[in-house]
């Protein structure tokens, strides 16, 4: 803060620039010196990123470490691997039922997500655009459904599933997961549908389109970003779900990845860590890859559901 006159003029100039350009300008950050930025921005950010990513590094490292390096932390530096091996991953894929578990998870997640999206699109359209009697109440009820956690429902649901004869079947999860996904997706899609101009629908109505045609031919194509957000976020939630899968599935081949990892690998073997970490890594990768392609949609799904 040396020369206030030049500071003022600088600010004026940048103010005009900020008006001219969008919000992605430097803003006032030029006011800070580099050392100050190092201490207040880069250093804390670096530490937080290291902490956030370390478990994944450790997971990946362990899954390619030979057994003797895993338990001998003195001859080898544990933060690195000397002769990486694919033994653990091989064992996982060919000696366990891991591919089957992966398939189960994907199957359940895909089916449940598709079912939920269909139900949510219809419900969201009805609430936002048909404006039927009590639409607002239904909207609020759906929001409250979002707040009901699985951990207070799994016991009664277990007996419902038992009564329907769906115990130990993937179908039980396909039918139950939509209760987690529909409230969220409906809420998200309601936000998207609200942004579509009424005029488009009115034109279609005048041209004689039915409500169904309007939904399929006008609203859905315009809401594609919302649909993608809802789809991938729902898919992630399904993949992540644990307590229902743990309660409803009993036999080993029917399990999903999270349940199988927790229950099937824990045999007291000191060498289990390699394949356990390989299992966790392989189970996370599909989601991380999906995430890498759709980062923006993820963020808009997460913030969209919270903002309303």
């Amino acid at each position: 803060m040396t020369d206030s006159a030049t500071m003022e003029s600088k600010k004026l100039v940048t103010g005009v620039q900020a008006l001219a350009q969008s919000d992605d300008t430097e803003g006032m950050s030029y006011l800070e010196s580099l050392p100050r930025r190092l201490i207040t921005l880069y250093l804390p950010l670096f530490i937080i990123l290291i902490v956030l990513l370390f478990p994944f590094y450790w997971m990946a490292l362990t899954s390619i470490k030979p057994d003797e390096q895993l338990i001998d932390m003195n001859t080898y530096n544990p933060f690195w691997v000397v002769h990486p091996t694919f033994k653990h991953i091989e064992k996982l894929l060919f000696e366990t039922e891991y591919p089957r578990w992966l398939w189960n998870t994907m199957y359940v997640a895909t089916c449940a997500t598709i079912l939920s999206i269909i139900a949510s699109v219809l419900a969201a359209y009805a609430i936002v655009r048909l404006r039927f009697k009590g639409a607002d109440t239904v909207g609020v009820l759906i929001f409250f459904a979002y707040l009901v956690p699985p951990s207070i429902l799994f016991i009664p649901l277990a007996s419902v599933i038992q009564a329907y004869g769906l115990f130990d079947s993937p179908l039980s999860l396909i039918l139950v997961y939509p209760t987690l996904l529909i409230p969220f997706s409906t809420w998200l899609l309601m936000g998207y549908f609200k942004t579509i101009p009424y005029e488009l629908e009115e034109c279609a109505l005048i041209d004689g389109a039915s409500r169904w045609q309007i939904l399929v031919k006008i609203v859905l194509p315009l809401a594609v970003p919302g649909l993608i957000s809802a789809f991938i976020f729902s898919f992630t939630l399904c993949w992540n779900e644990f307590i229902y899968a743990l309660t409803f599935l009993q036999s080993t081949p029917n399990k999903t990845v999270p349940v199988a990892i927790v229950n099937e690998f824990v045999d007291g073997d000191i060498y289990k860590w390699g394949s356990l970490m390989a299992g966790a890594l392989v189970g996370s990768l599909p989601l991380v890859i999906l995430y890498a392609f759709f980062v923006e949609h993820y963020v808009s799904a997460m913030t969209g559901a919270v903002k309303e």
Partner: protein, 319 residues
């Protein structure tokens, strides 16, 4: 709607008496009913009904494989005098309070950092969210290995640094276990809080900060009088979600400790699973789960009334 009818030539021929099918197709409330049906079916069959059934089951002595009979408040009386149940209530409250408070503090701090101008901004933001994307159980397994009693990398590093002289028993010692589980929860929750708060921060106009700076406001004053008030609504929503999900957490604790050592990390959800499914006493498990409902309602009510009060203060009626 009347214009629509008139402009459809095939219908105008039979316009005098619309058939039942016609009415089903055009009556707004009936069409809406059809549209709502799939979602409503799922939510009623697998959400509303089990919710009611759970409360009913908590008044019975149902066990796995045997239908229960109504026993009134016996389950609750039994839980009332059960020290393990009260320990789990204490653990759940401790877990929720500490984890949520720290998640909020670090999350807000991280959001403020990410909101600043820097190279590779988009990529750093994308990386931050990864812990939230990876399934909780799978990252919990990684933490399990990090917290291992014998081969913990944390213990190893601290010993090499000369800070401790023997391995820390992270998941075997009562307080260490609590701390470890809470840390893992914070680790997973911070990205969610940070990214949603960041979205809120981006809606704050930079010109407000510039004006405040011209008026001589310090960093803290700008945060306290611009950022914080404008961010309050989204903070309330995010923290409500965070508190609810932390309070009802199950998978992280189950994967790490299964409630041990000596029930020190048993949350109400894990205790409910232990009693209800593993021991087979469905009625008692349902009672523990039902006992969570008042806490959840209280959390929702607090944030709801907080928002209402704020709306009233601002005098706005839009959502």
């Amino acid at each position: 709607m009347s214009i629509v009818q008139a402009s459809m030539p095939p219908q105008s021929a039979t316009a005098e008496l619309p058939s039942v099918w016609q009415r089903l197709r055009t009556n707004k409330n009936l069409v809406a009913l059809w549209f709502m049906l799939p979602a409503a079916a799922f939510l009623i069959l697998f959400l509303a009904y089990p919710l009611g059934l759970g409360i009913w089951m908590s008044f019975t002595d149902e066990r796995i494989g045997r239908a229960g009979i109504f026993i009134g408040l016996e389950n609750y009386e039994w839980l009332w005098s059960d020290t393990i149940f009260w320990l789990s209530v204490f653990n759940t409250l401790l877990y929720t309070l500490i984890a949520s408070a720290i998640k909020f503090a670090i999350g807000l701090y991280l959001a403020l950092l990410l909101n600043r101008h820097m190279p590779f901004k988009a990529m750093i933001r994308a990386i931050v969210l990864i812990p939230f994307i990876v399934p909780t159980v799978l990252s919990a397994i990684a933490f399990w290995w990090i917290y291992d009693a014998q081969f913990s990398i944390i213990s190893w590093s601290l010993i090499k640094l000369g800070l401790i002289d023997h391995n820390i028993n992270f998941l075997g010692d009562t307080n260490w276990a609590r701390g470890s589980v809470i840390f893992a929860n914070i680790w997973r929750g911070v990205p969610f809080v940070a990214i949603t708060l960041l979205a809120g921060l981006q809606t704050v106009s930079p010109s407000l900060y510039e004006a405040a700076t011209l008026d001589g406001a310090t960093d803290w004053q700008r945060f306290r009088h611009i950022t914080y008030p404008l961010l309050t609504p989204i903070i309330a929503v995010v923290m409500t979600f965070s508190v609810l999900f932390t309070f009802t957490d199950f998978q992280l604790v189950w994967a790490l400790t299964r409630g041990g050592p000596v029930n020190a990390t048993h949350l109400m959800a894990t205790l409910s699973y232990q009693r209800g499914i593993i021991s087979g006493r469905l009625g008692e498990g349902a009672a523990i789960a039902t006992a969570m409902i008042p806490f959840l309602l209280a959390a929702i009510a607090i944030s709801w009334f907080g928002m209402q009060r704020r709306k009233w203060q601002q005098g706005s009626d839009n959502d």
